[in-house]
């Protein structure tokens, strides 16, 4: 691939990122609400399901925009909210969610 083509693709991806950022941020907001509810021991089954779906979608898309760390964090949250294990992560849900927000807001 020529450098010019790569640059054009990169610019086009940036435009798509800008276009889809609101829905990506909305998914993070769902995770933030779930993290708060989890900390208060008030996470409902519906909130858990919504958080699992949001984490799954973020895991699938963030790396596509170059945010591989974001995909890793979202995948950790998906595992927690689907109850597939790694209970050691549970105390760190708020921390992981905050890092996810930071990564998304600071994408160059």
């Amino acid at each position: 691939m020529e450098p010019a083509e790569q640059s054009a693709l990169s610019q086009a991806l940036d435009q798509l990122w800008a276009r889809f950022l609101p829905q990506i941020e909305e998914r993070v907001s769902i995770l933030e609400s779930a993290a708060a509810a989890f900390s208060a021991n008030q996470l409902s089954p519906a909130e858990r399901e919504a958080a699992s779906a949001a984490a799954h979608k973020l895991a699938g898309v963030l790396g596509t925009f170059g945010l591989t760390r974001g995909t890793d964090l979202a995948r950790e949250l998906e595992i927690v909210y689907t109850g597939e294990g790694v209970p050691a992560l549970s105390p760190h849900i708020a921390e992981i969610t905050a890092e996810l927000r930071d990564i998304i807001e600071n994408r160059k």
Binding site: A12, F20, G60
Partner: protein, 124 residues
Amino acid sequence: MSHSILIVDDEDDIREVAALSLESIADWKVYVASSGAKGLALAIQHQPDAIVLDVMMPVMDGPATFRELQMNPKTAHIPVLLLTAKVQSSDQRRFADLGVKAVLFKPFDPLTLADQISSALGWD
């Protein structure tokens, strides 16, 4: 050689990035659908060279859509690749056992997606 491909995914961001990648890098003709039912209709109408199906979609998921495609004589010959964000090996085996050509993983790299698909389909 240029190819045509149908991307079926309920997530619009994934659809758009995949389409951008395959059109701009590989110069393929890309059709997109937001559901299994719409994908089935487009596959019948356009007869793409291959179909990439998201696994987790509401109503008719990827495996169900694949079965519909296989049962329809107008689409049974079209090779299908599944696209999934699931990384557990049990899921991967289950998807591979369906009889699809390959299982691709999210997140994909837009720079190499066309190469992955070409390689899986022997288009190299």
